[in-house]
Amino acid sequence: MKIHVAYYAKLREERGCSEESLDTETATATALYEHLRNEHGFTLSEAQLRVVINEEFAAWDAPIHAGDTVVFIPPVAGG
């Protein structure tokens, strides 16, 4: 299935882009992040992030469907 993924802050830096379209069979946010972490060597663990699915904060075990937008958000404190 095709989904849309976006990265913020340190994840964007580590991925080298803000967003991308993916073809994936991962069923949950957790599985998707683990997959991406292995692929891109993200230094942040799932526990340090929040996941947003279709513009709403979601649980890590939330299912992912075709066409969803999944966003990974690290905490940010700069000012």
């Binding site: 340190k10 904060f57 966003v71 940010v76 000012g79």
Partner: protein, 514 residues
């Protein structure tokens, strides 16, 4: 009616003008010439007015008082020219059906006259000196300036609020009523750094009547590229005072109060109590979570923003509307390893400028009751792609502070985690000192005592070179990063690790990178 008088006031006549068969009471205020001001012995004084505008503005104030408090007659006369000790300088009289309105209107009139009517006082001192003082109209309280250095000059026609706010008053949603709401608003800005330096001028110029600035830091050279209200020659000065000076020069019609100290669990309640809205312009999680918890506990609207390199987020916590809070997203304060401060990650000055301006906009939207986004919306704004993402925050975990209903601070302090430099010195080498600043910061201001270098940014991939039993103190420039790291290391099983309280800047203010 408001009037100016070159001659001593006739109180009987003034009082008679307020008599009315419907009035049940009368309240008056008299301002007298006294013999001392700020430690100087005063011989006589002189009032100078800008008559056409003074009378117009004075009558506007009287009309407002009648409107606001429903009083029957309101009179005010101000002296001009030379006055001797004990002379009456200003007289306010109000008659009303009941005493409550009479007292309130009287107080309102004298406060507004002092603030808005263009009348200046020149004091002649016993020592032969003289000076223009107490220019409340310039909102320059405690900002002793002399005639020559006056920001707008007493000789020139003074600036009028209507002229100052002309473009903003044109907006149908603002108008005189909205401007009046802003004039009575009280907004506290915590952090006069990148975000604050943009938010503060926008609030002041819009006419937010009372602005508080909380910041305990001093201006550093490396701040200037993003904190553009400060100038090169102000390096080393306290930020709160420098920012206040900037705002006073920018808009003479607002009052600015400084709180030149770091926000702590002990002072946060006293700091917030006088304000309606708080802008979180801080740059560390500790302050952000403390402000979040305090806003919930003390019922203040909090406009929160954070930036990272080229992006940022903005979120309004509104306990009055039972909105969600920062802990609805991040129940626990995040660990040190996953966040980069501006010193570590870098920042382009325009980024905090954008987000600070957005924070002031949020405050103005609330104060003016303008249309706005739903309470539970967190905005993520990437300034590279200009993509805005509006994410809904659900108030969905029942243990959150915003749902506890408790009116006390949920914050846990970290007593026992911090050590002062005195304690470090007293340990006489028994403590291992680790400098956790980044390499460039260390090079710019090397620590002049035996220490190990371990940049905080490599944690948690690497651990600092220390043993479980070794008493160790971590140092960074301000004590935030070292505190995070010390907390994380304690969690990771190092009970003897401490953080240098307030960081190295408390030792050599000018020698430590921000």
């Amino acid at each position: 009616m408001f009037s100016l008088s070159e001659t001593p006031l006739d109180l009987g006549m003034l009082r008679a003008a307020t008599r009315d068969v419907e009035a049940g009471g009368f309240a008056a205020f008299e301002g007298w010439v006294r013999n001392r001001n700020e430690g100087k012995e005063v011989r006589s004084l002189e009032y100078e007015a800008y008559p056409a505008v003074a009378i117009k503005e004075g009558n506007r104030i009287l009309a407002e008082a009648k409107d606001r408090f429903g009083v029957i007659h309101a009179e005010c006369t101000h002296r001009t020219g030379h006055l001797a000790l004990e002379d009456i300088a200003v007289w306010v009289g109000v008659s009303a059906a009941h005493r409550g309105e009479a007292f309130e209107a009287c107080r309102y009139i004298i406060d507004e006259v002092k603030l808005r009517v263009p009348i200046w006082k020149k004091e002649h001192y016993v020592d032969g000196d003289s000076g223009w003082v107490n220019c409340e109209r310039c909102a320059a309280r405690g900002h002793g300036h002399d005639h020559a250095h006056h920001p707008h000059g007493h000789g020139a026609a003074p600036v009028q609020p209507a002229a100052y706010y002309a473009r903003q008053l044109k907006l149908p949603e603002v108008g005189p009523a909205g401007q009046d709401r802003l004039a009575h608003a009280r907004v506290l800005v915590v952090g006069a750094g990148g975000l604050g330096a943009a938010a503060l001028p926008a609030l002041a110029a819009a006419g937010v009547g009372h602005i508080g600035i909380c910041d305990g830091d001093r201006i550093e050279i490396s701040n200037l590229h993003r904190q553009t209200i400060y100038t090169l020659h102000q390096a080393g000065q306290p930020k709160a005072a420098a920012a206040a000076d900037y705002l006073r020069a920018l808009n003479p019609f607002v009052q600015v109060q400084t709180h030149p100290e770091k926000l702590t669990p002990d002072n946060v309640e006293a700091m917030l109590v006088d304000y309606d809205i708080v802008l979180d312009c801080t740059d560390n999680f500790e302050a952000k979570f403390l402000l979040n918890d305090a806003a919930i506990a003390y019922g203040k609207i909090l406009v929160q923003a954070s930036i990272y390199q080229y992006e940022g987020q903005i979120f309004v916590v509104n306990p009055h509307r039972e909105g969600p809070c920062l802990r609805c997203v991040w129940p626990e304060m995040p660990d040190p390893g996953c966040v980069g401060s501006c010193a570590e990650a870098g920042v382009l000055g325009a980024v905090p400028a954008v987000f600070g301006a957005m924070q002031s906009m949020e405050a103005l939207k609330i104060l003016l009751d303008l249309p706005r986004q739903p309470e539970n919306t967190m905005i993520f704004f990437d300034l590279l792609t200009l993509r805005t993402r509006r994410v809904t925050v659900n108030r969905n975990h029942s243990g959150c502070v915003c749902q506890s209903g408790k009116k006390e601070l949920a914050w846990e302090s970290h007593t026992g985690l911090e050590l002062s430099w005195e304690a470090v010195e007293a340990a006489q080498g028994a403590l291992l000192v680790i400098d956790i600043r980044e390499e460039a910061e260390r090079e710019a201001a090397p620590l002049d005592c035996p220490n190990l270098a371990f940049p905080a940014s490599v944690f948690p991939l690497q651990h600092p070179p220390m043993s479980v039993d070794q008493r160790t103190v971590l140092c960074c420039s301000r004590g935030f990063r070292s505190r995070y790291l010390a907390m994380a290391l304690r969690k990771a099983g190092f009970p003897n690790v401490y953080s240098l309280s307030n960081g190295l800047q408390s030792l050599h203010p000018t020698h430590v990178a921000p």
